[in-house]
């Protein structure tokens, strides 16, 4: 038993140093990002948060509607294809219908010309502007970023996006907002070029959910979080199986080790 304890302590010691190294790494990167100006981001309590969460399909579908009807005018999601929408629980007919509402550029045709046609499943999401300069020209010099991986391109991504969308409030007294900018409580520096785009009942949800600003922000954030990491659910399910497997294998291996070492005094 003493051997067991000592071996275990040893292992723990080695692990602890590894963990300290790792923990050091973690502790450092997180505060570093927030170092400039710490704005506390409220936790929106999403279904996909935590280690075992899953995406709320209904919310993701409503979020798609918000994206399609509100965001897509300025923001692309170029990494996604329409076929990906099958993964949030829409049927093939529904996705075909959604795709067909977008015109995408194709070609050249037999005459050597580019032409527009309704999008198909295999097409990528349409880009709202031909290029960055066109986007800036249409948006007062600001560039609406692509939203494909936005949820993992910001610290605390999902909560931040939700906070940002509901964060349009009156500026505090004495705060001057520049021409063409809007005050946002959660945007770094508080001045954002995107206006408060969500208004109550801006979209009409087919499932009857009341389209409050908070609801729409939650839904579109769910959609964006899914879009950024569509593999999340598969990844977590696989992780549980693999770790359980490793724990069993680890137990067996440890038993073999004990058996092998049983006759050695140390």
């Amino acid at each position: 038993m003493r051997d067991l304890k000592r071996g275990f302590r040893n292992l723990l010691g080695a692990l602890a140093l590894g963990a300290a190294t790792l923990g050091g790494g973690l502790a450092l990167t997180t505060p570093a990002r927030a170092a400039g100006e710490a704005i506390a981001i409220p936790d929106a309590g999403f279904s996909f948060a935590g280690f075992f969460g899953t995406f709320d399909r209904g919310a993701a579908q409503r979020g798609l509607q918000v994206y399609k009807e509100v965001c897509a005018a300025c923001h692309g999601m170029y990494q996604l294809s329409y076929r990906n929408l099958l993964e949030i629980g829409l049927s093939e007919e529904q996705v075909r219908a959604i795709a067909a509402t977008f015109e995408v550029r194709d070609g050249p045709n037999d005459m050597g010309e580019m032409f527009d046609r309704p999008a198909r499943l295999s097409d990528r999401f349409r880009r709202p502007f031909a290029n960055e300069l066109a986007a800036r020209a249409a948006n007062n010099g600001a560039y609406p970023p692509d939203l494909s991986v936005m949820a993992k391109a910001r610290p605390n991504g999902a909560n931040y996006l939700h906070a940002l969308l509901v964060g349009y409030v009156e500026p505090p007294p004495g705060f001057t907002v520049a021409e063409g900018m809007y005050y946002n409580a959660y945007f770094p520096g508080h001045q954002i070029a995107m206006p408060a785009i969500l208004n109550p009942d801006q979209v009409e949800y087919a499932d009857g959910t009341a389209a409050t600003v908070d609801q729409m922000a939650r839904d579109v954030t769910t959609f964006l979080a899914w879009a950024a990491e569509p593999e999340t659910e598969q990844r977590r399910a696989m992780g549980i199986r693999i770790i359980l497997f490793l724990i069993v294998l680890g137990g067996l291996t440890y038993a073999v080790k004990r058996k092998v070492w049983a006759d050695v005094k140390h």
Binding site: S81, L121, F245, L249, L252, K259, A262
Partner: protein, 191 residues
């Protein structure tokens, strides 16, 4: 015995009768652990192999639509489907007749013309020689069409007829007919 501290059975497990119970248990334990580990290794190999299969974006492009309107009788077009050429030929009545009159006994890979087309005027075949994957000639009016007025593969001299069937040469099979359907009278979707 006391001259070595290396315990019995340390390096070579076999042949120590002194502790049969321990030996058996170790063997069983070691075996089951090894088996377990082997399953793990096998499971790890699969994602790597699978990653080399066609990716989802590649699979999504697996259908091609072809507008038939501009193709006059006697003409042929080549379209790309899954990175390969597909021959769409608008056959003349004579070509159809020759194809249908050919007795199956003369064919290397017997198939009736009827079984190879959905509408008799339109022959749709994958334009890849079944010998070693070259693209046969015969699409352009100036091309050599081979002895059977279909296609001729310049690589190793295979001749195909007006139904895309192999007649002479090293190719073992007829030109493959892809999955396709008429979405309207003037359009087909391949794949």
């Amino acid at each position: 015995m006391a001259e070595t501290m290396v315990p019995a059975g340390a390096s070579q497990g076999a042949g120590h009768g002194s502790a049969p119970v321990g030996e058996t248990r170790r063997d069983f334990l070691t075996l089951s652990t090894a088996a377990f580990a082997a399953v793990g290794v096998g499971a790890v190999v699969w994602p790597f192999i699978s990653s080399m299969n066609p990716a989802r974006d590649v699979l999504a492009l697996a259908s091609t639509e072809v507008d038939l309107t501009p193709i006059a009788v006697g003409q042929a077009v080549t379209v790309v489907w899954r990175g390969k050429p597909v021959f769409v030929r608008h056959r003349t009545p004579e070509e159809i007749e020759v194809a249908r009159a050919t007795p199956l006994s003369q064919l290397k890979d017997p198939a009736t013309d009827q079984s190879r087309v959905q509408r008799e005027g339109w022959l749709v075949v994958v334009g890849v020689c079944t010998h070693l994957g070259c693209v046969p000639l015969g699409q352009k009016p100036t091309d050599a069409k081979g002895d059977y007025n279909g296609w001729f593969c310049p690589c190793h001299g295979s001749h195909y007829d007006t139904s895309g069937r192999i007649r002479v040469g090293p190719a073992p099979l007829n030109l493959a007919v892809p999955d396709y359907s008429f979405t309207s009278d003037t359009q087909i979707r391949i794949g």
